[in-house]
């Protein structure tokens, strides 16, 4: 479209404004539509009997006694379901020889983790269904649980899956340049071993599903608290054999996901199959303890990372060797999740060689899969940790070491050693701004004073200069990684006869604020008010095409589809307006929602008038179809690469091991922004989850494979006193890969913050000979690291619950903006 520069009364652009969210009116008044709210006539409730053993053969399952319980309508074991007991799918076979064992909706031969589904009861209400579970008889023959990844790979280890009898799922290699040559040229080779512990996503809304037979021909509607209604529909058709056009999947209000609802779950299959069999709606809502036990986990890597460097700290090569815990089964992208990190271990640094190996390992634990950042936080943690460790070894400032190695802003676009082209960035600018906000030099001076004074409370400063790849994903890249689907996104934009605008998007929000942001984008493109735009999403009947929301992709892929569709609407409207104005389309300009003929001031048609003309179709130009709408499907050509500099100051009480964040500064560069308020919120939430990994959260199994952090009593999701205000700012280096110049922000805070915090704590106590401390950095671990020579704090007492309180934080300046 064309725009008149400096038009006297041009409407203010909505993109870039901190528009208050359109979503919030419902959410703050309780007028919500969570899946668990849904009540349908004749609806039944499902409860799932779960294995109390990590590893056992199932000798017998007998549900008959459960059928006698009050209110019970049906009960099934896996065998009872017969050929309806189909498997959940993994869509990412990362190597040709990857082991992909069956993952049936109900386990039949063995149970493979505590929480593995064994049988279900269907009853009149949720209390009756839960009560009847205890009447189901199951005989288990216990097997030794496989819990430790290294032990799992040893010859003779018990196998989680009898076929093929090995716990190795795959070994995946990736490299560029000659690492051995780089090593030979290096002055030193610096190796570190880090543990990136297992986390539980813990979205506040537990998962919930309702399946209802909705027609005479086997049609079924599934409401699910999912991030991916479109993908669930495809996978449901593939697994159950129900024709895809008879399946409708609806994701109503979804209360957070963070990757845990980027999944195709057994309970979705069970609800659909059983509702279809019984001809009645079936609902299942997980308890929080089920959520902790069976909704997929994240992270869980043993990381070996090695830098070949010169004495000046110039990186020549990087070698990474990972063991990645798959858990007991492969969920949709379990094996691929750690590999998304393969491209992020080199971070923002230039080097000659990269050598990456990852081995996926089966254990008798909850399956892992994508959790906010998905592979990229793990990679960023390792590279940013080792950069601080290397700086200490070389006795240079950690920011100085980074500057010696990072890509300078003049060098963009830059093809990194990971073979991907980084679009834009300015690491110098973000770092300079962060140092200024942080008072880096002042805090370094204070740190020195405290060291000299032998203050029991020591100050540590941690650095993280991260980049990430956003916008999953160019379909050709996914193809090269053997992912079985594409990464495109779809949008439809309609101007209705009355002038109201509908945007249909294939992205599927679960708290981000897409309705607001997409309204802003469409409003600017069409020259209308954002309030005149409504956004339709999350229902395969009304938004039939989409690849959903994850991987910081919604704006950079889905948002661009909205832009492109809106431009097509304007293109069509231009033809109709020209016809109405009896002018040449090329002589029209489109400003603030109105077509005008250049040089002929009175001669105008608004887009609303054009829409009505397109509706009546009484007088359309030759070859132009009625209605004013257009579609676009965008397949991104490449990723975008946001980046940022995060600085964290932590006070560590050396007598108690307690760590308190004193100041957290982050300057992110995510290109242009559509809504700075939403962006800010995404950063805050991301920081909280990354800081939580560093200080608070860890999924712990005991020796028998019981999850001892199986509720919010034992798994420490931080509360308000556990976190500080964040001092945030942005630099703006627009992306060159999309018309809005945006990058992606959903995961940035999580990816960057974990190493910043751990680096700060280690920086505070390195003077006592500490090189590393295991996450989560509990006071006990920090104390042990200080007081037990050579210790990294050790394992957490597996039999215990969380015995430490949260580290209360002092507030900082109160956050920017």
């Amino acid at each position: 479209m064309t725009a008149t520069e400096a038009a006297p009364q041009a409407r203010q652009k909505s993109v870039g404004q901190p528009l208050r969210r359109k979503e919030d009116a419902r959410l703050v008044t309780g007028k919500t539509n969570w899946t668990d709210n849904i009540v349908l006539p004749g609806m039944l409730h499902m409860a799932v009997l779960r294995s109390p053993m990590a590893h056992a053969r199932i000798a017998k399952v007998d549900v008959s006694a459960a059928l006698e319980r009050p209110g019970v309508v049906a009960a099934y074991s896996g065998a009872d379901l017969g050929d309806k007991n189909v498997g959940a799918l993994c869509v990412w076979p990362v190597t040709d020889d990857m082991v992909m064992p069956p993952h049936l909706a109900l386990a039949v031969d063995k149970v493979r983790y505590v929480g593995d589904a064994v049988a279900v009861v269907i009853a009149g209400d949720r209390y009756q269904a839960a009560d009847a579970l205890e009447a189901i008889e199951v005989d288990y023959e216990p097997l030794p649980p496989v819990l430790d990844m290294r032990a799992a790979l040893e010859d003779g280890s018990t196998a989680v899956h009898d076929d093929p009898g090995t716990n190795k799922c795959y070994t995946w290699k990736f490299g560029n340049g000659d690492y051995e040559a780089a090593k030979a040229k290096a002055d030193r080779v610096f190796t570190r071993h880090y543990v990136n512990q297992r986390l539980i996503p813990m979205a506040m809304e537990p998962r919930s599903v309702v399946a209802a037979p909705t027609g005479p021909d086997g049609d079924v509607t599934l409401w699910s608290a999912t991030q991916i209604p479109h993908i669930v529909r495809v996978l449901m058709a593939l697994t159950t054999g129900i024709p895809e056009n008879k399946i409708r999947v609806i994701a109503p209000d979804v209360g957070g996901g963070f990757g845990s609802k980027l999944q195709f779950y057994r309970e979705e299959i069970l609800a659909v199959q059983i509702a279809s069999m019984l001809g009645r709606p079936v609902k299942w809502t997980e308890t929080r303890s089920e959520n902790a036990q069976v909704t997929h986990h994240g992270r869980d890597q043993l990381q070996e990372i090695e830098l070949a460097v010169t004495n000046e700290g110039k990186i020549l090569g990087l070698r990474v060797d990972l063991l990645a815990n798959m858990g007991a089964y492969l969920h949709i992208i379990t094996p691929g999740t750690p590999l998304l990190g393969a491209f992020m271990f080199n971070g923002i640094y230039k080097m000659d060689a990269l050598d990456f190996t990852c081995t996926g390992v089966f254990t008798n634990t909850t399956p892992t899969d994508a959790y906010r950042g998905a592979g990229r936080p793990e990679a960023t943690f390792a590279i940013e940790r080792i950069m601080d460790d290397l700086a200490a070894e070389l006795e240079v400032d950690p920011l100085e070491l980074r500057e010696r190695n990072w890509i300078t802003h003049e060098e963009f676009p830059y093809t990194s050693i990971n073979t991907l082209e980084y679009d834009t960035g300015n690491y110098e600018a973000a770092t300079a701004r962060a140092k200024e906000m942080f008072d880096y030099d002042g805090l370094r001076r204070e740190q020195q004073q405290r060291r000299e004074a032998k203050d029991p409370v020591q100050l540590g400063i941690g650095v993280s200069t991260f980049t990430e790849m956003c916008g999953l994903a160019p379909s050709r890249v996914l193809s090269s990684l053997k992912y079985v689907a594409g990464g495109w996104e779809h949008a439809t934009v309609r101007v209705l006869p009355t002038g109201a605008v509908e945007v249909v998007t294939g992205t599927s929000p679960h708290g981000q604020g897409h309705v607001t942001a997409w309204s802003q984008i469409a409003a600017d493109a069409l020259g209308v008010d954002p309030d005149a735009v409504s956004v339709i999403y999350g229902d395969t009947a009304t938004s039939p095409y989409g690849m959903d929301t994850y991987g910081s992709r919604s704006l950079v892929v889905g948002g661009m589809a909205v832009v492109a569709a809106a431009e097509r609407v304007v293109d069509k409207a231009r033809l109709i307006a020209a016809h109405m104005l009896e002018a040449d389309p090329d002589d029209l300009e489109f400003v603030d929602g109105t077509f005008g003929v250049r040089g002929s001031p009175g001669s105008t048609k608004t887009i609303q008038e054009v829409a009505f003309e397109a509706f009546t179709a009484h007088n359309l130009p030759e070859g132009v179809e009625p209605t004013l709408q257009a579609n676009s499907t965008i397949d991104p050509s490449t990723f975008s690469f946001p980046h940022g500099t995060h600085l964290c100051a932590v006070e560590v009480d050396t007598e108690t091991g307690m760590s308190k964040i004193r100041k957290y500064v982050c300057v992110d560069d995510i290109g242009n922004v559509v809504n700075p308020m939403i962006v800010e919120g995404q950063v805050h939430g991301g920081l909280a989850q990354g800081i939580a990994q560093a200080l608070y959260e860890e999924a712990v199994y005991d020796d028998a494979g019981n999850l001892v952090t199986g509720s919010l009593v034992d798994y420490l999701v931080p509360a308000a006193p556990d976190l500080p205000f964040f001092d945030t700012d942005r630099t703006v280096t627009p992306s060159t890969t999309n018309p809005l110049g945006v990058k992606g922000v959903g995961e940035a805070g999580t990816i960057a913050s974990t190493p910043a915090v751990v680096n700060a704590v280690v920086d505070a106590v390195r003077q006592f000979g500490v090189q590393d401390i295991r996450m989560a950095l509990t006071p006990e671990r920090v104390w042990r690291a200080i007081h037990e020579s050579g210790s990294t704090g050790g394992e957490r007492a597996a039999e215990g619950t969380v015995v430490y309180g949260g580290a209360a934080t002092e507030s900082t300046a109160g956050g920017a903006q």
């Binding site: 208050r20 969210r21 979503e23 919030d24 009116a25 419902r26 959410l27 703050v28 008044t29 309780g30 007028k31 919500t32 969570w34 668990d36 709210n37 009540v39 209400d125 949720r126 209390y127 813990m202 979205a203 506040m204 809304e205 537990p206 209000d253 979804v254 209360g255 957070g256 963070f258 308890t287 929080r288 303890s289 679960h510 708290g511 981000q512 604020g513 308020m677 939403i678 800010e680 919120g681 805050h684 939430g685 991301g686 920081l687 909280a688 989850q689 509720s711 919010l712 009593v713 999701v717 509360a719 308000a720 006193p721 976190l723 205000f725 964040f726 805070g749 507030s811 109160g814 956050g815």
Partner: protein, 154 residues
């Protein structure tokens, strides 16, 4: 057992099982689905309501214990116009997915009733029983500060 409860101004008489949790009564019998359930252990506070003006996690009370009380949920809060705390949460982007929001707003109202001009630390401590996974609490604390500045104790 028969209970008599006033929910958001509406008087009700219901037969309930003695074991029925108040939150399930509100959601499934009264239809007050604006109050969600987030955990089984009374840690998350998503289900927070007021019972006779006192803030209560409705998963930790039986429906029969609410007999003879007045219950106010998030749905009964707006009286013609929004409560200041609701307005402030929207204004300050104190919510994202919104699942914790009903409980967080109820807890914040109680906090401001006790202390109309709380410090940052007092706000954080006052909201300790309510978990949010989206916001990192930054804008929740800002929302409560905003509400306090607007005289939000009401």
């Amino acid at each position: 057992m028969q209970i008599q409860v006033t929910v958001d101004g509406q008087q009700r008489v219901d037969e309930v099982e003695p074991r029925l949790l108040l939150v399930h009564y509100l959601r499934e019998r009264v239809g007050k689905v604006g109050t969600p359930v987030g955990c089984d252990t009374s840690n998350c506070g998503a289900c927070t309501v007021q019972v006779d003006g006192q803030t209560v996690k409705s998963c930790s009370l039986l429906a029969v214990q609410a007999d003879g009380t007045e219950v106010t949920t998030i749905e009964g809060l707006a009286n013609g116009e929004w409560h200041q705390v609701q307005t402030s949460f929207k204004e300050c982007h104190g919510l994202q997915c919104g699942y914790c929001t009903p409980g967080m707003i109820m807890a914040a109202i109680d906090l401001l009733k006790e202390n109309p001009d709380p410090s940052e630390t007092q706000i954080r401590d006052g909201l300790e029983g309510n978990l949010c996974r989206c916001t990192g609490y930054h804008n929740i604390v800002k929302s409560v500060q905003h509400a306090a500045a607007q005289g939000g104790a009401r």
